[in-house]
Amino acid sequence: MRGRGGVAALPFPVIAMIGPSLVLAAFVVGYPLYEIVRLSLHEVSRFGMIRAFTGWGNFANVLADATFQASLWRTLIWTGFVVGGTMVISIPVAVVLNLDFAGRGLARTIVMLPWSVSLSMASIVWLWAFNADYGVVNTFLTAIGALPRGLAWMARPETAFPIEIAIGIVVSIPFTTTVLLGGLSSIPGDIYEAARIDGAGPWMQFRMLTLPLLKSFIGIAMILNMIHVFNSFPIIWIMTQGGPNDTTHILITYLYDLAFRLGRPGPAAAISLIMLVIVFSFTLLYLRMQGRERA
């Protein structure tokens, strides 16, 4: 069945099957997008009343805003470190969990457990763990003599932001490990046997066989993590709310601060569109990688 332009025309049952979900998706995605574009081009009161048309004014103000620039830069650091750290930890974890050893099921369950806790809950628990007065971290560090007295970890960006990154890594490991384990199980075992016969040691096997064969899975896990971490709100919002002095804001928390604390939906909508463009470019990258896989 070929249409006039040489493009395959979809048979009616196919259209009937995907049609409703397409319409639904168009509405679910399209309507908010339309609203956000409209908000970003107007001066908007905090209750969503549209006032004057400002054209690109909101975008110009946002781009010139020092807090926005700092937050954008911090978002890149945040995404880079969380995703990078997650990959560096998850690859060996996945390789180990793929080995056959007694208690593997238990070990896999333990690694997956953090996934079952919501991000907000995990952040609250960690916030208490790092509490200056009664957190377990301070109690532990003072008990073993590493610190003379407890530190106020969340008081300064130099300590608060790295802690937030570390928590971001911890909560991203289960997903990433799952993807990588799936990849590892698709590698046939006999090639390792062949490599062993040819005299390749474990490190050599990892570098020459596992890593290249896992590459596409690593790529996909990275891109999906980038999209997710870039937009990740709960950890930073719950632990520091972007403070003190706006020094731990990433774009998504700054956007929320602008929209709901300062009551400026217009500039907030502009930021969300800028973020959309950034995430969309990640997505394009992902789609391209997927395409390459298929080809």
Partner: protein
């Protein structure tokens, strides 16, 4: 083949059930449901309003009041979302300082038409003023509080100030002694809502103002610099709790309740919390320390009626009921607020309560948050300024100058 008869039977049965279910809704001719959004002040808030709703329903058969309790931190966003979706309640508690934004978007109903002289006369002098904009009253003061200095009696007695410090010099002197004894002297709030207000206590006591009458930032003044320099030296010399930017108001109050903080400035509701949680704590309450003058911060929360309400008459009836002597006294007592009506102030609970009287006596010198647009932006700018100084990344002069520019970009716009 479809069994039409069976289908018809089941449909008609469903219709009958639906009809029965609808019947009670249509019964009384004028049955209003008034939806009320209230903020969570304490565990007593929800039960109090539920009780009032039940009493109101009993006295006004057919009418119903539905209470929705919302956490204070989430209240503004909730209202914002509800209003954008045209799904807001009929009545809501709001921070009085937000009122102007509601009035600007024409969302709240002026209440003057509902109030008679008798009703107005229920309130204490100035408490209706903060919710009046352009000679119209948009809100009723449902909760009021002021700020005073709580001090730990044991720590302050050992430091030589058994009745609490009177001036900032005495605060510093006492904090030095407490520090030498290994304690935390004066609590400085560096996180969360009201970091700015914590600075204003000192600023006002040195005779400064936050916003000038022509609605320009006025905090970057000698008084402002003096206040921030004072706090900075308290922080830098270790006379406060360590890591001040990690402490919001609740954290400071907790530290005080645990007997690990010598002095903290906060609101009267801490009295109730201490009585419930640590009744053995020996503490006193003194006025906010003076620099060159006496000053405190007073806050009211208002209850407003939304313009799009379809049950305004009944809603007003409920408000009228809430502001009669019985409900007022019960509410203010349970929450630990200050009286806003004369009937409360005359109640023996308040006249005989020395600690609450300290706050009441401060009211003549109290500063209210001005009802101007851009107040939230000003608060944020000053909060950032204070935090950058506490973190050591800016001088008081530079930080306040930067905050002044930021605040002026939003004030009065």
């Amino acid at each position: 083949m479809i069994d039409f008869k069976a289908a018809f039977r089941s449909w008609s049965r469903l219709g009958a059930v639906l009809g029965l279910a609808m019947a009670p809704l249509a019964a009384p001719a004028q049955a209003d449901t008034v939806r009320v959004t209230v903020s969570y002040y304490s565990a007593a808030t929800g039960p109090f309003f539920e009780k009032m709703a039940a009493e109101f329903a009993k006295a006004n058969p057919g009418h119903e009041v539905k209470i929705e309790v919302v956490n204070w931190n989430a209240l503004f966003q909730k209202l914002q979302t509800d209003i954008s979706g045209n799904a807001n309640s009929d009545i809501s508690i709001i921070g009085t300082r937000w009122l102007l934004d509601f009035v600007r978007d024409d969302l709240v109903e002026p209440l003057d038409g509902y109030m008679n002289a008798d009703f107005r006369n229920r309130f204490i002098g100035t408490f209706l003023n903060p919710s009046q904009i352009k000679a119209k009253t948009y809100g009723l003061p449902i909760a009021a509080s002021a700020r005073g200095l709580y001090y730990n009696k044991a720590m302050l007695t050992a430091a030589g100030f058994p009745t609490g410090p009177k001036t900032w010099d005495e605060v510093v002197a006492a904090a030095e002694k407490i520090k030498a004894a290994g304690g935390n002297g004066f609590g400085v709030q560096g996180k969360g809502t009201e970091v700015d207000v914590y600075l204003y206590y000192a600023l006002w006591s040195y005779g400064g103002t936050v916003v000038s009458p022509d609605i320009k930032a006025a905090f970057n003044s000698p008084a402002g610099v003096k206040a921030l320099t004072l706090y900075k030296s308290i922080v830098d010399r270790g006379l406060s709790q360590p890591g001040v930017t990690d402490y919001d108001r609740t954290d400071l109050q907790n530290l005080f309740k645990q007997g690990r903080l010598g002095m903290v400035i906060t609101a009267p509701f801490l009295i109730n919390q201490i009585a419930k949680e640590v009744p053995t704590l020996e503490y006193g309450i003194a006025p906010v320390p003076t620099g060159t003058t006496n000053a405190t911060y007073a806050v009211t929360d208002s209850v407003v009626m939304f313009k799009n309400s379809k049950v305004k008459a009944t809603a007003w009836k409920f408000l009228d009921f809430l502001f009669t002597a019985g409900p007022r006294i019960e509410f203010t007592k349970a929450e630990g607020f200050l009286p806003t009506t004369k009937a409360e102030a005359a109640d023996p609970y308040f006249t005989g309560n020395e600690r609450l009287q300290t706050f009441v006596n401060l009211l003549p010198n109290a500063h209210f948050a001005p009802t101007v647009t851009g107040w939230e932006d000003t608060a944020k700018a000053v909060t950032n300024a204070a935090q950058s100084v506490y973190l050591g990344s800016a001088t008081p002069e530079a930080a306040l100058k930067k905050a002044e520019t930021e605040a002026n970009a939003a004030l009065g716009k």
